[in-house]
Amino acid sequence: MALKIQKSFNEEEQLWVLVLEGEVDLHTAGILKKAVNEMLEEKKGSIRIMGDQLEYIDSTGLSVFIGTLKQLQKENLNILVRNLKPSIKKLLNITGLDKILVVEN
């Protein structure tokens, strides 16, 4: 399964909303990285990742989040994640990323 990415800027909350659909792995992590870099070049802002349709992610995808966080934290911005599958929440938990990202609900 491939990865589909939808990105839009929410003017009201002043943040990017990134809808990830499919799988982020070694093959698709580059697409995610490119999308995130383009977003932040266009406009600096926090990023909310919608995980409703994110079926799978591993360290290759988490590394993109970590790299992006490094950029965002310099400007007091963050990554927020919402509606993640239990298996993905577990992965954030064992890596400790859930303490660095903002996990919503």
Binding site: M1, E23, D25, L26, H27, Y56, D58, S59, T60, L62, S63, I66, G67, L69, K70, Q73, P86, S87, K90, L91, I94, T95, G96, L97, K99, I100
Partner: protein, 142 residues
Amino acid sequence: MNHEINREMIELSIPHRSEYVSMIRLTVTAIASSMGFDIEDIEDIKVALSEACSNAIMHGGCSAEENFVVQFIREQKRLTISVSDFGKGYSVQTLQDPKLEELNEGGLGIFIIRSLMDDVKIKTGSSQGTSITMIKNLREEA
């Protein structure tokens, strides 16, 4: 596949190319599911195996024309998976647990494998390739 199995081996030889990692996940999902692993355990195995394959593809130092080998050994109560490449190897001593507070992306894969599987062994050394062997035990039914 309900017949009694003592020990059976399945082996895949796979090109060092990232598009194959999702195919390996589908394969291991089928194997683990047929053995009776639950959804949570299957997710753990999928992630751990993907991490090992990503490692082989990224750090094995092999060209895309070469293959690495994934071996599954199914036994009554456990699944053993080995991922072996024939690349240049690397030093396990340089593999440290990631320090996320320092936002360090390196070493995350091996750390995740060790967290998700019941037993993990890594054999590596200069010019002898790397082999990661991991075991997931079937949980006793309550």
